[in-house]
């Protein structure tokens, strides 16, 4: 199967070179580049499935050419790597099918240069993510990580009309590199101890760490990957950068790039840094669980108040990363290495991994659907949309599918993984006592709140965007998206349905990662113990009997019920139907009468006012007397607490410090050289004599 790895890398490489065709024809470059990317993604799926379906313990190894004299580079695809490679490749398939048509429809006269740049960076981005998942040593990992970051940065700023994307890109760049710096520190600490770069050596080196060093490294890594994953309060770049990229890249960034950070975190927590013959330190799991809970709740709360379709979706990524981290954190808490892993830890990790692939599928789908809307209307503010369901039926239907999935409603995939997360949380709560149990119950309650709020948010997003009447000329003249874009969406929609209706069949592919990380039973041994049609959590005992569910039966039941209702309505109800305008007290109805997104979110804005700190201004222009109102202007905004409470303060502090340094600096070179000399003198005196 190393052939598959070679094909994958080759395809991405050819795709990047496809940009050379840009001078001939931008359209040709887009086609070729995306087609090669598609080939790479398909090869990636092949590699991943062959490893995931292969014998337990099989690791696909492939040495890389020696680029550096000091380190040997290699690829090593084990279960965890293969799983994340699968996630990357599944969404990459959709994005590469969707991409060329989108870029042409969105900006038909963009020019060949931009097409070339986008083709190069998209392929480097995809290749970087795939390589990162397969990396067998720290150097490959860091190179791929950096390549992925830089390529996605280029994509974020590739469509800059008014400078806002450049700003978003800058923020992304700064935050991403801050995180990367922490990762470098962690990796280099380990490589220096190990004297080598490959993960096996790092694992051996980490075994000799003392607890304090181990904890320090873990929290460095958590901060580093947390920045990339968009964990609150490190998320501020995410809702700016993700919407700025072209929509299929947004789908990749939100659906996949964040997951790559999760991969890194799992790799470090369960594999590289895990103590030998001891459970993980208690603080790790709890920190991750708390961070996940906070991210989930705050992510969805902020998403509710967004009226920019893509920005709303980006905030939902923060929420879903939170849910994934809740599962992962719980698995860390529950994992006991010596006791065979523990069934509950397996359930929790399965939930996290399943939600990873689920979120990739439905968030990818939602971003692609939002991209269809964007490329046909050129409007992202949903207040100016409306009534698109009739004009773009496929896009609307697929967006609805994604919305149902992300709202964790049966019978789609979001429900399955959130249900498993719930089972793990509740099972863990019933088995632990005191504050720990209480904390886990609280997390479960927060997860429930998150699910409810997400449903509310997508009622708003779908209703305001697709239902009602068009509120602008853009929306009124929208047409359905091109076929290839719909195909891309259908691929992800089909994934959502498959993972929702028959998740038991996908569980087999979670065996390798769960078993190898937890050294316990695989996912399917626990979750599909009663056959692939029934999901179980393997829990027995008081209060936990009701822990089996059959998604397939639920789906069949749902279909039957809908069919019954439809038949009954056809058979019985022949009530006369009449079309008439809505009664609007004598005024002629207009699209302005529809529910707006702002109005829909108002109740929650009031309930959570302490968090949102909403500000609004209403300006009434009257014609002479207060009784004749000519125009009312309304402007409102909510703040992101992390921004105002943390980042703004840091900014003020840094500015103040810089000002004070500026006031003190004389500008005289002699003084500066003197400072250097003095520092050197003192340092030499101090360190030299201390020895």
């Amino acid at each position: 199967m190393t052939v598959g790895l070679g094909m994958m890398a080759g395809c991405y490489g050819v795709g990047a070179l496809g940009a050379l065709l840009a001078p001939l024809s931008g359209r040709l470059a887009l086609r070729v580049g995306h087609l090669a990317g598609l080939g790479g993604a398909v090869a990636g799926i092949g590699v991943a499935l062959s490893v995931l379906g292969g014998a337990p313990g099989m690791v696909l190894r492939q040495p890389l050419p020696d680029l550096f004299p000091f380190a040997r580079m290699s690829l090593a695809v084990d279960g965890l790597s293969a799983f994340f490679l699968l996630v990357v490749s599944l969404v990459a398939v959709a994005a590469t099918i969707y991409g060329p048509a989108y870029l042409q429809a969105h900006a038909p006269d963009a020019g060949a240069t931009r097409a070339g740049v986008q083709v190069v960076s998209l392929n480097l981005f995809l290749g970087g993510m795939a390589l990162l998942c397969c990396a067998g040593d720290a150097l490959t990992f860091l190179l791929a990580w950096e390549g992925m970051t830089l390529a996605s940065y280029v994509l974020v700023v590739s469509e800059d009309e008014d400078g806002t994307n450049a700003q978003a890109g800058l923020l992304y760049m700064v935050m991403a590199h801050g995180g990367t710096a922490l990762l470098f520190v962690a990796f280099l600490t380990l490589t220096e101890r190990a004297g080598a770069f490959d993960f096996d050596a790092l694992r051996a080196a980490a075994a000799g760490l003392d607890p304090a060093g181990r904890n320090t490294l873990f929290f460095l890594v958590l901060l580093g990957f947390g920045t990339k994953a968009g964990v609150v309060p490190l998320h501020v770049w995410l809702p700016r950068a993700h919407p700025a990229a072209p929509s299929h890249v947004s789908a990749l960034m939100s659906g996949v790039m964040l997951k790559v950070a999760i991969y890194g975190l799992l790799r470090f927590a369960f594999d590289l840094l895990a103590p030998v013959a001891a459970p993980l330190p208690v603080g790790w799991g709890w920190t991750v669980l708390v961070a996940g809970t906070v991210s989930a709740v705050l992510g969805v709360l902020y998403a509710l108040q967004q009226h920019d379709l893509k920005r709303l979706l980006a905030f939902h990524s923060v929420e879903n990363i939170g849910i994934i981290l809740m599962g992962a954190g719980l698995a860390m808490i529950l994992w006991r290495r010596e006791a065979g892993g523990g069934v509950l830890a397996t359930v929790a990790l399965t939930a996290a991994l399943l939600h990873t692939v689920n979120h990739a599928a439905f968030k990818g789908l939602l971003f692609l659907a939002a991209g269809s809307v964007l490329c046909r209307t050129h409007v992202r503010n949903m207040e100016e949309l409306g009534g698109l369901a009739r004009r773009m039926p496929w896009t609307a239907g697929l967006f609805l599918l994604g919305a149902v999935a992300i709202s964790a409603l049966p019978p789609l995939n979001g429900f399955v993984s959130e249900w498993l997360t719930f089972q793990a949380l509740l099972g863990a709560a019933s088995r632990s006592h005191g504050p720990a149990g209480l904390g886990i119950v609280f997390a479960a309650a927060m997860l429930a709140l998150t699910g409810g709020l997400a449903a509310a948010c997508f009622v708003k997003a779908f209703g305001v965007t697709f239902l009602g009447r068009p509120r602008s000329a853009h929306a009124e003249h929208a047409r359905e998206a091109p076929v290839s874009m719909i195909l891309g969406m259908v691929w992800l929609g089909a994934l959502c349905v498959f993972l929702g209706v028959a998740p038991g069949y996908a569980m087999r592919f979670l065996d390798r990662p769960t078993a190898s990380l937890l050294h316990g039973p695989g996912a399917s041994a626990v979750v599909t113990a009663h056959g692939p049609l029934v999901l179980a959590t393997g829990l027995t005992g008081a209060g936990t009997e009701a822990t089996t569910i059959s998604m397939t039966a639920i789906s069949v039941l749902l279909v039957v019920l809908i069919a019954l209702a439809w038949l009954l309505r056809r058979g019985l109800g022949h009530a006369p139907r009449r079309c008439a305008p809505t009664w609007t007290c004598g005024m002629s109805p207009s699209a302005r009468f529809d529910y707006t997104a702002t109005a829909f979110a108002k109740p929650l804005r009031m309930v959570f006012a302490a968090l949102y700190r909403p500000r609004r201004s209403v300006i009434v222009e009257s014609a002479g007397t207060p009784y004749v109102v000519r125009r009312i202007r309304y402007a409102g905004e909510v703040v992101d607490l992390a921004e105002t409470q943390i980042y703004r303060r840091v900014e003020v502090g840094v500015t103040r410090l810089a000002q004070s340094i500026r006031r003190r600096s004389s500008g005289r070179i002699h003084v500066y050289i003197g400072f250097v000399l003095g520092t050197l003198f003192v340092a030499l005196l101090f360190f030299g004599v201390r020895r």
Binding site: R662, S666, G667, I669, V671, L677, L684, G688, V689
Partner: protein, 218 residues
């Protein structure tokens, strides 16, 4: 040549180097500082030649020759030319009085010797007292840069500092790889050329010197 003789010669050369360094520090006029740094470079070339004789390292001969030509002849000549072209007052114009500089220099030298005492293991591998002398000259070069107003004297300080590093390098390792030595010397030549041109241009267009750069403060 026996090792003890070599060590004795290197020690004596080290003393001469320190002496020239003090001459640079104490120089009241710019051209004296330039002659002193030229003499210092000459001694380093001699040190290189002595080491080459003792270790039979052919590369060291080459390095000594390059040092002699570039550092002891060409660079002082460039500096001297710049000085003549500038046609300004020849005084050094110290930021702090020369006497105070000398006191500071004494502190630096004492510290350098004190420090090298605690680096016993390193000192074993080094010919004589080269390490403390090298450290002292390096730091004193920086001291010259810090305490003199004119760009020319700062260039002198830079060369002296570079000489210190060079001395440690050849004495400590019996010659670094040839390519590195040549690279370092090229760096110095480039720095000298750039600074010389810069000084002349700045002087001819805005009639300012390094001390006036403080007006550029943001």
């Amino acid at each position: 040549m026996s090792p003890s003789t070599t060590a004795a010669i290197i020690n004596d050369l080290g003393a001469l180097l320190l002496f020239t360094m003090l001459l640079i520090l104490a120089a009241g006029q710019v051209y004296r500082a330039i002659y002193a740094v030229a003499a210092q470079s000459l001694f380093i070339a001699i040190a290189g030649a002595v080491l080459a004789l003792a270790t039979h390292n052919a590369d060291l001969w080459l390095i000594a020759a390059i040092t002699l030509v570039v550092k002891a002849m060409v660079l002082p000549w460039v500096l001297h030319r710049v000085l003549q072209r500038l046609n300004v007052r020849r005084e050094v114009e110290p930021v702090v009085p020369i006497a105070v500089t000398l006191v500071l220099a004494v502190a630096v030298v004492v510290m350098a010797f004190h420090l090298s005492g605690s680096l016993g293991a390193v000192q074993q591998a080094i010919t004589g007292n080269a390490l403390p002398v090298g450290i002292a000259i390096t730091l004193l070069g920086v001291l010259v840069m810090a305490t003199r107003k004119k760009a020319l004297t700062q260039m002198v300080g830079l060369f002296a500092s570079e000489n210190g590093i060079f001395f440690v390098a050849i004495a400590a390792t019996q010659g670094m790889p040839l390519i590195i030595e040549i690279g370092v010397i090229l760096d110095v030549i480039l720095a000298a050329l750039v600074m010389a041109i810069l000084v002349l241009r700045v002087r001819s267009t805005v009639a300012a010197d390094v001390a006036d750069l403080s007006r550029l403060r943001g």
